[in-house]
């Protein structure tokens, strides 16, 4: 062993970041979305603190509209890691029965953006790990590893601290909070390769299988439960599909695929020509929409 491979370097860097937060933050939490990036982040946390369990809870800001298989893995993953699992659902969104079919972008605003703010404030977490990567989207390329939010959880791109070497400044005033992104420097390929190498458990939806689907507005949607309102003329059709990214099932487009193993998924990814986020309805709203959402407090 004379030189570390790129994955070994990425792993060591992420572990360093996780430990810095554990040592310096007052009340950290790991935001867990049950997706593949969360899976890698959780795996890295287990490594960082082994043989201790990670010294912070996992928190899922739930919209009640995730895929059923995600809920199943969520419980198991937390249990396997020996971590407390907190699930937060915005009570107002729940009361008003906010859903992606009737409420459009309000669904994301209330369940996710508002829900996250409420969750952090409710529990008093001062530092939250997130699984965002810099290669995901243009506005993320400039995101710091330690990203500061004011008392209203807003992100000010002009007022972020310079990050030198591996010296992270985690000091903050009482009302501020920090989002920390331990896998900032990983690419989509790195994530898949690491899942493959380390045999990390992921939601089976990432692998192809025959599933009930409908085609709507150019997106291939999975009919995951009985809450899916079928329009006139729509009948669920069994198609061999998988997902490149997982969110709320009515907002997440599937791709038709025959890839039933991880190497096949990676193979398809490398030979394909559409980027990962295209499957998400949320980004198509307007130019630079992700940046706007971030300023408002979306992860």
């Amino acid at each position: 062993m004379s030189q570390l491979t790129h994955l070994q370097r990425l792993e060591a860097e992420s572990i360093h970041i996780l430990r810095e937060v554990a040592a310096e933050a007052e009340k950290p939490v790991m935001l867990y979305s049950v997706g593949k990036d969360s899976a890698v982040m959780l795996h890295l946390a287990k490594k960082a603190f082994y043989p201790s369990p990670p010294p912070f809870p996992l928190m899922h800001v739930d919209t009640t509209w995730k895929f059923q298989e995600m809920y199943k893995l969520r419980e198991k993953a937390a249990k396997d890691a020996g971590m407390e699992l907190l699930v937060y659902q915005n009570p107002e969104a729940k009361e008003k029965a906010i859903n992606p079919f009737d409420h459009g972008s309000l669904h994301t605003d209330m369940w996710k953006t508002e829900g996250l703010k409420q969750a952090l404030d409710t529990y008093g977490f001062d530092t939250a790990f997130g699984g965002a990567r810099r290669d995901e989207e243009k506005s993320r390329a400039k995101e710091r590893v330690f990203s500061f939010r004011n008392a209203n959880h807003r992100w000010d791109p002009k007022n972020q601290r310079p990050e030198l070497w591996n010296l992270y400044n985690s000091r903050k005033s009482g009302s501020e909070s920090i989002r920390v992104f331990p896998i900032s420097n990983w690419t989509e390929l790195d994530i898949w390769q690491y899942i493959h190498l380390e045999n990390i458990e992921i939601v089976p939806l990432y692998l192809s299988k025959k599933r009930p689907t409908v085609m709507r507005d150019g997106m291939l949607l999975m009919v995951d439960d009985e809450r899916f309102p079928l329009k006139e003329g729509e009948t669920p059709e069994m198609r061999s599909i998988r997902f490149r990214t997982l969110g709320c099932y009515p907002l997440t487009g599937a791709v038709e695929s025959e890839a039933t193993t991880l190497p096949e998924v990676i193979q398809e990814m490398l030979l394909t020509t559409t980027s990962e986020r295209q499957g998400r309805a949320i980004d198509h709203d307007q130019a630079a929409s992700m940046e706007k959402k971030k300023q408002e407090g979306y992860f």
Binding site: M1, L10, R19, E20, S52, K172, N185, P263
Partner: protein, 634 residues
């Protein structure tokens, strides 16, 4: 041009497992690109991403439409738009921060730090360069070496980047002329020699046309060297390792799941370690033997620089975050006074003497920086006299820390000699620094252990020592009230001493004036004297304006928890000015007296004073009584 060049699509299609195996064994190279908007830097990076297939069809579609809308290349693809990030800068047409980009070839994975070329340059480039193994310095072939080329090269060299690529771009615009290229290389060599850059690789290219980017350009048959990608793929990063091969691991976190396991977690920043080897724990200096190198994948026989591990020792030794585990036979130095290069990164200029928080590795201490020995002009590299460091300036300064730190010269091991300074009030990262060496005076002054402790002094006086720190505007009544409080405490049989602002300036501090810098030094000395007297068991009363929060904070931290009692003598400016007992406000208003607190120098009110007295509704006597009553309760 549409063919993906770096990724072996055939291999991916035919044998994905072979491809994955190849990808898994790739090494990583981090580099920084330096140049201004006009040098075609964004275009070059855009092309690297494009050619490595890091752009997908949907991104390409939006790139094509954007190119037509706001691009500068007519109907052609404007690669620069690809690396353009935030909405604000899209409108301005400039990039304003460090952005990180990713691409991979068959041999390596790359992380590119992309920094813009405008006035925030120094701060951004130093940030991007701090994690880079290599720098690509772009030059516009039509313009040759410019002031900014010198600046980029100087900063790359300052941060210790040993691998430099001189990318002479826009060769298409000088008709691929060899003479033009050779002249630029000769000019640069002269300059590089002077700066101490030992070696560099010059490549003639065109980011726009794709010449010498991924393969040898037919437009420049006279060039025999490697294309940019070939060079990056094959360069051995000889000098990127620390000179010191000795084992170093700053302890980040103590891993203690149960009573039977006690591990020290950290990332190795130098050398390697095997189980069974002897290590030393600094600063205690105790030695022990490595029992196990623990990871979730099983115990390791050996771990090397760059790895994050957990180490257990054979002996029960005190070791916590901020300590450094090192090889027993060649430990780094420990000191508290240094010379360092400092890059100032905040809008507020450096205040010589002010205590900043300093993070070096996992050590967090308090550090004060002296007036710069000199500032460095980043364009001409001349040394200039300077009283302070402003945003984006670089200087060489002496600094002292409140306790000893474990360090090595930055040039020998960047992770043991690079540090950041943090403002204690705003919590902003205000500077980056690189330690040169420890000052001799600190090595020779040892702390003398004394048998009679501070507890002993206090016990004999039968009192709890304290420093009562009165702060408030001139004329607020600090001295009057402090004097009354001392009389009352004296009457209660307490041993006290009053340090008064005016009186101290007649003696101990008579060499100091009223500039911000002198005010900071004034308070530093008072705080140190108050600390000694508190150690001696006294109840010390200090009555100084002490206008800055940071210095009062510093004084508080010199003392033990609970010993520092901040008393805010709260008098509104109008009231103090109305009183004007010494006639000073009048002088300040007329301009006769400069830097007067409240008039042309700020007073930062305490945020959490232990005691506040409002002199507009309390007499001095009542205020003193209030304070004494409060003290008895504390």
């Amino acid at each position: 041009m549409n063919d993906p060049i770096y990724q072996t699509d055939d291999l991916i299609a035919e044998d994905i497992n072979a491809y994955l195996d190849q990808h898994q064994h790739k090494s990583m190279l981090r580099f920084i690109t330096c140049g201004s908007v006009d040098d075609g830097k964004s275009t070059l990076i855009g092309r690297l991403l494009y050619d490595s297939k890091m752009i997908f069809e949907d991104q390409l579609a939006s790139l094509e439409s954007d190119s037509k809308k706001v691009g500068t290349q007519g109907q052609e693809i404007d690669f620069a738009l690809l690396v353009d990030g935030l909405a604000a800068e899209r409108e301005q047409g400039i990039t304003i921060d460090v952005a990180y980009r990713f691409f991979a070839t068959e041999k390596r994975k790359y992380i590119v730090a992309d920094t813009p070329g405008h006035e925030q340059y120094t701060r951004n480039m130093v940030t991007g360069a701090s994690t880079a193994d290599l720098a690509v310095i772009l030059i516009d072939a039509r313009k040759g070496i410019l002031t900014q080329t010198r600046r980029h090269s100087y900063l790359a060299h300052l941060i210790g980047i040993k691998n430099i690529v001189l990318a002479v771009n826009k060769m298409d615009l000088i008709d691929y002329d060899q003479g033009g290229f050779d002249q630029i290389v000769a000019d640069y060599r002269k300059f590089a020699d002077k700066l101490g850059i030992k070696d560099f690789t010059a490549i003639p290219l065109s980011g726009l046309k794709g010449d010498n980017i991924t393969s040898h350009s037919e437009n420049m048959p006279w060039y025999n060297g490697a294309s940019l990608i070939d060079h990056l793929d094959t360069i051995t990063l000889t000098d990127d390792k620390p000179k010191s091969e000795d084992f170093r691991m700053p302890v980040q976190w103590v891993n203690r799941p149960n009573l039977d396991f006690r591990g020290f977690s950290g990332q190795i920043t130098g050398g390697s370690i095997k189980s069974g080897e002897t290590v030393r724990i600094l600063p205690s200096g105790k030695t022990s033997i490595v029992d196990k190198i623990v990871t979730m994948d099983g115990d390791l026989d050996e771990a090397i620089s760059g790895q994050s591990v957990t180490i257990t020792l054979k002996d029960e030794i005190d070791c916590s975050r901020g300590d450094v585990i090192v090889s027993a036979d060649n430990p780094p130095e420990v000191a508290d006074q240094f010379e360092a290069t400092i890059v100032w990164m905040a809008e507020d200029a450096m205040l010589p003497g002010r205590a900043y928080a300093m993070k070096i590795g996992t050590q967090m201490v308090s550090a004060s920086v002296q007036q710069p020995k000199y500032q460095i002009n980043v364009n001409s590299h001349e040394h200039i006299a300077a009283k302070t460091l402003e945003l984006n300036t670089i200087g060489v300064c002496e600094l002292s820390t409140d306790k000893q730190i474990i360090f090595e010269a930055y040039a020998d091991n960047p992770s043991m000699g690079g540090f950041i300074l943090i403002d204690r009030i705003t919590n902003a990262t205000v500077a980056a620094g690189m330690l040169h060496f420890a000052l001799r005076r600190s090595q020779n002054v040892h702390w003398q252990a004394i048998d009679i402790t501070r507890e002993g002094h206090a016990a004999l006086k039968n009192q709890k020592p304290r420093t009562l720190w009165f702060t408030g505007l001139s004329g607020s009544g600090k001295s009057t009230i402090a004097n009354l409080v001392e009389k009352k405490l004296h009457a209660l049989g307490k041993h006290t001493y009053l340090l008064d602002g005016d009186n101290v300036r007649h003696g101990l501090n008579k060499d100091l004036g009223f500039t911000d810098k002198d005010r900071i030094e004034n308070i530093r000395r008072i705080a140190e004297v108050a600390k000694l007297m508190t150690d001696a068991g006294l109840i010390v009363l200090t009555a100084f304006i002490s206008p800055f929060r940071a210095e009062r904070h510093m004084a508080r931290h010199l003392l033990q928890e609970g010993e520092f009692i901040e008393i805010h003598v709260n008098t509104p400016l109008e009231v103090a000015e109305e009183r004007d007992v010494k006639g000073l406000y009048k002088k300040a208003r007329s301009g006769e007296l400069k830097n007067f607190t409240g008039i042309d120098s700020p007073y930062e009110e305490p945020e959490n004073a232990e005691i506040t007295v409002d002199t507009t509704n309390m007499s001095a006597e009542e205020a003193a009584e209030h304070i004494v009553t409060h003290l008895i309760e504390l």
